[in-house]
C-alpha cells in the first residue's frame, strides 16, 4: 500500500486507531508486563503535578507578608501596596495577579509554604535547579532526579509508560534516571502524523522494528517507550479534548501544559507523576509591583491553576499540584527596580488532599537580624521535607531515604500540607 502524500496533519486530532494487537508485539513486550487495558481502579489514583518556576521566583511578592514592616521599608518601588494585596490571613496576602486562586484558598484546597528552600548557599540558577531536581543539594554527582528515584521504588505502578510524564520538549533532570519517563510536547501530535490509520500503523510498526535492533542505551530504551506510549494513548483516544465545567485556560505554555495533564489524568492511562516548568521569573530588572513583569507571569500562572482545578472538578480530590523554584530573591530591591538572587521562597500546594487555607512553614520575618547572609529570607523548611511529605502522604511512598540520599526525611518536619 502506498504511503499517502499528505503526511503532515496541520491541525490537531488523532484519527481513530483500531485496537489491532500485533501478536509479535505481545511476544516482544514480554520483558515489560504492561497492562493492555486500563484498569477501573486507576481512576482515582493519586497524582502529583510538579510545576517548576525556573529563574528563582520572588516568593515575597507571591505570598506577600504585608504585615511585616520591613517588606515596605525595603521595597519602595516594587512592594505590592497593602490596598492591592488580596489578603489571606491578616499578615500574608496574595499578589493581586493571583486573585483567581483566592476561591481555592477560601474552599481550603490551596495552601502556601513560605520560607522554604535549600540548605545550600549557591546563588547559581543552574546549580540550584540541579540540586532541587536531583534532591541532593550540594552534590553535583547525582545522576538522576528525585522524582525518578521515587518511580524506581514504586514498582507497583510501573506497568504503564505514562506513569511519569514531563510536558515540554526535553526530559527534565527531575525525571532523569533509570525509571522510564516520557517527555511529551503536545499530546495531539504524539505519534506518527499520517492521516490514513492503516498506513500510519504500518509505518509505526516499521520504526518500532528498527528501534528494536538499536544498540542498547538511551536511544533503544526511548525508542521502545515511544511506541508503547503511542499505542496506549491511542487506546485511550484523546480526541478533540474539551475542558469540563466551563474551565478556560489562559493562553500560554502553563495553561497548555496543565490542560494536557488534565486530559491525561482523565484518560486513565496511569499517570501518577507529572511535571511542567515555566520560565520568566528571574526579575533582576523592572520587576514591577501590582502590575508589571512579575504580575504578568503570575496572572498566567494563577489563571492556569484555577482552570486546571475547575476542569478536573471532582477528580481534584486525589490530585495535588506543587509549585517550586530553585531559590527566592533579595528582600531589598536592587538598583534596577528588581531583585537579585536570594535564598528562601514560597511554594504553593493545590488540590483536594491539601489542608488549604493556611500559610505553612515557620516564618522567620524579614527583620535584618533574621535574614540569611543579612540580605535574604531565611530557609526554615528544607525543600526535601516538603517534597518528602508529598511522596509519603500523597503518593504513599515508604522509602524516602532512597529518594533523598544523605538526608533523613522526618515526618515531624513535614510542613503539614497533606493530611496524614
Amino acid at each position: 500500500m502506498a504511503i499517502s502524500r499528505r503526511v503532515f496533519v496541520k491541525s490537531g486530532g488523532l484519527a481513530l486507531f483500531s485496537l489491532g494487537l500485533d501478536p509479535l508485539f505481545l511476544a516482544r513486550a514480554a520483558f515489560i508486563p504492561y497492562r493492555l487495558l486500563p484498569s477501573p481502579t486507576v481512576s482515582d489514583q493519586p497524582v502529583l503535578v510538579c510545576l517548576f518556576m525556573r529563574g528563582a521566583v520572588d516568593g515575597l511578592n507571591v505570598i506577600v507578608p504585608h504585615g511585616d514592616p520591613f517588606y515596605y521599608r525595603e521595597r519602595p518601588r516594587i512592594a505590592v501596596p497593602a490596598s492591592d494585596v488580596v489578603d489571606l490571613d491578616g499578615y500574608f496576602g496574595l499578589h493581586p495577579a493571583l486573585k483567581a486562586l483566592k476561591p481555592l484558598w477560601d474552599n481550603k484546597s490551596l495552601a502556601a509554604v513560605h520560607a522554604v528552600g535549600s540548605p545550600d548557599a549557591t546563588r547559581s540558577h543552574f546549580d540550584a535547579q540541579d540540586y532541587m531536581e536531583t534532591g541532593t543539594p550540594g552534590s553535583k554527582a547525582t545522576p538522576d532526579g528525585w522524582l525518578n528515584r521515587y518511580c524506581q521504588h514504586d514498582a507497583e505502578h510501573a506497568d504503564t509508560p505514562f506513569r511519569a510524564v514531563a510536558f515540554g520538549p526535553e526530559l527534565p533532570r527531575i525525571l532523569a534516571g533509570s525509571a522510564p519517563s516520557l517527555a511529551i510536547d503536545d499530546l495531539q501530535a504524539f505519534g506518527l502524523r499520517i492521516p490514513q490509520p492503516a498506513a500510519r500503523d504500518k509505518l509505526t510498526r516499521a520504526f518500532e522494528a528498527l528501534y528494536e535492533g538499536a544498540e542498547t542505551g538511551l536511544l533503544a530504551t526511548s525508542g521502545r517507550e515511544s511506541f508503547e506510549a503511542v499505542r496506549r494513548l491511542q487506546q485511550a483516544n484523546p480526541l478533540q479534548y474539551q475542558p469540563d465545567h466551563g474551565a478556560s485556560y489562559p493562553r500560554g505554555r502553563i495553561g497548555h501544559a496543565l490542560l494536557q495533564i488534565a486530559q491525561l489524568i482523565k484518560s486513565n492511562v496511569g499517570l501518577r507523576v507529572a511535571f511542567l516548568d515555566a520560565t520568566g521569573w528571574d526579575t533582576h530588572v523592572n520587576q514591577g509591583a501590582s502590575e508589571g513583569q512579575l504580575a504578568a507571569r503570575l496572572q498566567e500562572l494563577g489563571g492556569s491553576l484555577a482552570a486546571f482545578a475547575t476542569d478536573l472538578g471532582e477528580r481534584m480530590r486525589s490530585v495535588v499540584v506543587l509549585t517550586m523554584s530553585e531559590f527566592g530573591r533579595t528582600v531589598r530591591e536592587n538598583g534596577n527596580s528588581g531583585t537579585d538572587h536570594g535564598h528562601a521562597t514560597a511554594m504553593l500546594a493545590l488540590g483536594g488532599p491539601v489542608l488549604g487555607g493556611r500559610v505553612l512553614g515557620k516564618w522567620p520575618t524579614l527583620d535584618p537580624a533574621a535574614r540569611y547572609d543579612g540580605r535574604d529570607l531565611a530557609v526554615t523548611t528544607d525543600f526535601r521535607d516538603l517534597f518528602g511529605e508529598m511522596l509519603a502522604r500523597h503518593l504513599g511512598a515508604t522509602d524516602l531515604s532512597a529518594v533523598f540520599p544523605g538526608y533523613s526525611v522526618r515526618e515531624d518536619h513535614f510542613p503539614g500540607v497533606i493530611s496524614s
Partner: protein
C-alpha cells in the same frame, strides 16, 4: 519486487560497497578504515556528509581535509555567498533594526521610547504575542535562524559553522529579551563569526563589549553606588527637584548578573574557584561597561561616571584603585589565561567533538595546546582531532545529534536544498532547539540525556518521513540522480545506505526495510519509504 543478485546491481550503479564493520563476538571493533574515518570526521567536524562526500574525503585524505577545515578563510564558499544576498537582515545594522522595532511599537502603543531608560517601571521586556512589533520580531528572528541553518547545510567551511554554533551556545544571548532583538544579528555576524576559530581571549573580550551580552545580562545598567549620570548633574545645577526625579528613574546600583555568568559559564566554570564576594568585585570592575542609547541600537560605550574606581580584590588578585575600563580588560585576560578556564572550555569542546563525558586524555591534549598557543582555538581543536581519544572506537558514533544537527545532517544526506524562508529553522525549533531563543545563559545542552526522549524521537521520525517524501517545509529534494528508483529491493536499500547514509545500517535494519518495501509496488513510494525509515531510524540519530 524481483530479487536480483544485489552485487550485480550495485556494480552497475557504480556504488562502492563499504559498510561500517560490526563488532565481532568479543565486542572489539576493528580499527577505522579510511571510509569510516572520513565518515567520523564528517559527523564531527561537519554536519554530516553530503552524497558522495565520504568517498571524496577518504580519497583525498582525512587529515588533509581536517587541516583545510582548520583554515576556513582559505576555503572558497561561493554558494553560501550567493544565498546570503537573499537575507535582508545582513544589510541591516542594530540601529536600523531598533528604529524599525520602535516605529512599529509606537504605532501599536502610541508611546515614546526614552533612549536612556528601559521604559516605564513595570513594562514587560517581552512584547505581547499578537502585536505588530512582535510580528516584526518574529520575521527578524526567522531570518536570522534560517541564515544559520542555510550556512550549516550548505557551507564548505563546515568546521567553522560547527564552531559558530558552539560559541553561540557558550556565549548565549536570548533574542527575545528587549533590545537584544536589535543586537543579536550583529552579535552573530560581527562578534562571534569572525572570531570563532581565533584566540579565545579575543572572543571573550568581544562578547564582553557586545551590546547584545551587555543587555542580555543587564550589565549595561550596572552602576557604582552613588554614581550620577552627567545629565542629572547638569540638571542639578538648575533644578534640584527635577534632578532628584531623573535620578530616581535611572539605574541605581550594582548588577551581578554578568559577573556571575562570566565566571560560571564563560570562563572558569562553576567549580573553577570563585566566591560570592568575587562576583561582587567583578561586578564592580565592569561598572560603566554599557551601551549608547540601547533602545536605538547603539554601540558599546564606557560610562566613566558609572564606574566604580575603588580598589578591588578578585580571587586574591589586587586591582588597585583609580582604574577605568582597562581593569576590566585586565580581568578578562586573567580569566582567559586561567587554568580553570582552559580546562572548562576544553572539556566542553571535547564534549562536542568526542563524547558527552569526554575522557581526560583529549581534554588534557586540548589544554596543553591552549597553553602552548596562548588560547588559539584552531590549535586547540587540532590537538583534539589528533588525540587518540577522538579516533577511538568508543568515540565513533558515540554522540547523539541535537535537533539542529539532526535536521541539517538529514538535509545534507539527501542533497537537500534549503530555501530562504524560516520554515526549516522552525522545524528545528519544533524539535526543541529554536536558535537564539534559549533564555538560559547556559545555552542549549550538549549531552544526549537532554535531547533523547520518546516525544522527541517520534517528532524526528515524522520529520524524516516528510523529508524523504519531499514534504518537509523549507527544503526541496531531488533524489533521482542520487538513488534511482528500482524494482530491486535489496539494491534500493543498499544504494540508499551507501550513497546517502555512509553505510551505517545494521543487518537488522536491512531486514526490516526489506520486509517493509516488499508490498510497495510503486518504486517512488518505495524509495521514499526506505529513505524515510533510514533517516528516522536509530543509526542516523547518531553521529
Amino acid at each position: 519486487m524481483r530479487v536480483v543478485p544485489a552485487l550485480v546491481v550495485i556494480a552497475a550503479l557504480g556504488v562502492p560497497v563499504a559498510r561500517i564493520p560490526r563488532p565481532n563476538p568479543t565486542g572489539q571493533r576493528p580499527p577505522l578504515t579510511p571510509h569510516d574515518s572520513a565518515l567520523h570526521v564528517l559527523n564531527r567536524l561537519a554536519y554530516g556528509p553530503r552524497p558522495g562526500e565520504v568517498d571524496r574525503v577518504a580519497g583525498s585524505g582525512v587529515m588533509k581535509w581536517i587541516d583545510a577545515q582548520l583554515q576556513p578563510d582559505r576555503i572558497p564558499d561561493p554558494e553560501v555567498e550567493r544565498r546570503e544576498s537573499s537575507f535582508p537582515i545582513l544589510g541591516k545594522d542594530p540601529g536600523d533594526l531598533a528604529r524599525a522595532i520602535t516605529v512599529v511599537r509606537r504605532q501599536r502603543f502610541g508611546t515614546r521610547q526614552n533612549g536612556q531608560d528601559v521604559g516605564p517601571p513595570g513594562r514587560p521586556l517581552l512584547l505581547p504575542a499578537d502585536s505588530q512589533a512582535a510580528l516584526h520580531v518574529r520575521q527578524t528572528m526567522g531570518q536570522l535562524q534560517q541564515l544559520a541553518v542555510m550556512r550549516a547545510a550548505i557551507s564548505e567551511r563546515q568546521l567553522r559553522e560547527v564552531m559558530v554554533d558552539f560559541w553561540t551556545n557558550h556565549f548565549n544571548v536570548f533574542f527575545g529579551k528587549g533590545a537584544d532583538r536589535a543586537f543579536t544579528p550583529s552579535y552573530i555576524e560581527r562578534t562571534i563569526r569572525p572570531r570563532a576559530m581565533g584566540r579565545f581571549e579575543d572572543l571573550l573580550v568581544a562578547t564582553a563589549k557586545s551590546p547584545a551580552m551587555l543587555f542580555y545580562l543587564d550589565n549595561w545598567q550596572s552602576v557604582a553606588k552613588g554614581a550620577e549620570p552627567p545629565a542629572v548633574a547638569r540638571m542639578a545645577r538648575l533644578d534640584d527637584a527635577r534632578a532628584e526625579q531623573m535620578l530616581a528613574r535611572m539605574p541605581q546600583g550594582l548588577n551581578e548578573n554578568y559577573a556571575r555568568e562570566l565566571m560560571e559559564l564563560h570562563t572558569l566554570g562553576v567549580d573553577g574557584g570563585y566566591t560570592q564576594q568575587d562576583v561582587i568585585e567583578v561586578a564592580r570592575i565592569f561598572t560603566g561597561w554599557s551601551i549608547e542609547r540601547p533602545q536605538q541600537g547603539g554601540e558599546f560605550r564606557f560610562n566613566d561616571w558609572a564606574h566604580d574606581y575603588g580598589e578591588k580584590t578578585v580571587r586574591g588578585v589586587d586591582f588597585p584603585g583609580g582604574h577605568g575600563m582597562d581593569e576590566g580588560l585586565r580581568l578578562l585576560k586573567l580569566l582567559a589565561e586561567d587554568p580553570a578556564t582552559m580546562h572548562h572550555v576544553s572539556r566542553q569542546l571535547c564534549a562536542r567533538f568526542v563524547s558527552d563525558d569526554p575522557p581526560d586524555g583529549c581534554v588534557d591534549d586540548a589544554v596543553a595546546a591552549w597553553r602552548r598557543t596562548d588560547g588559539d582555538i584552531a590549535e586547540v581543536l587540532r590537538a583534539i582531532f589528533v588525540s587518540p581519544d577522538f579516533w577511538s572506537p568508543q568515540a565513533v558514533r558515540a554522540k547523539v545529534k541535537t535537533p539542529l544537527e539532526y535536521i541539517v545532517s538529514a538535509v545534507r544526506a539527501v542533497g537537500g536544498d534549503p530555501d530562504t524562508t524560516p520554515r526549516l529553522a522552525q522545524v528545528i525549533g519544533r524539535l526543541g532547539e529554536p536558535l537564539y531563543a534559549q533564555p538560559s545563559p547556559a545555552g542549549y545542552p550538549e549531552s544526549q540525556e537532554e535531547w533523547v526522549n520518546s516525544g522527541a524521537l517520534l517528532l524526528r521520525m515524522n520529520m524524516a518521513v516528510a523529508l524523504a517524501a519531499g514534504r518537509l517545509p523549507g527544503v526541496t529534494i531531488a533524489l533521482d540522480s542520487l538513488v534511482p528508483t528500482t524494482e530491486d529491493a535489496a539494491a534500493l536499500i543498499e544504494a540508499a545506505d551507501v550513497r546517502l547514509l555512509g553505510g551505517i545500517l545494521t543487518p537488522h535494519s536491512d531486514d526490516v526495510l526489506r520486509h517493509e518495501v516488499a508490498n510497495v509496488p510503486d518504486p517512488v513510494a518505495a524509495r521514499a519509504l526506505v529513505i524515510g525509515l533510514a533517516l528516522g531510524g536509530p543509526e542516523f540519530q547518531r553521529r
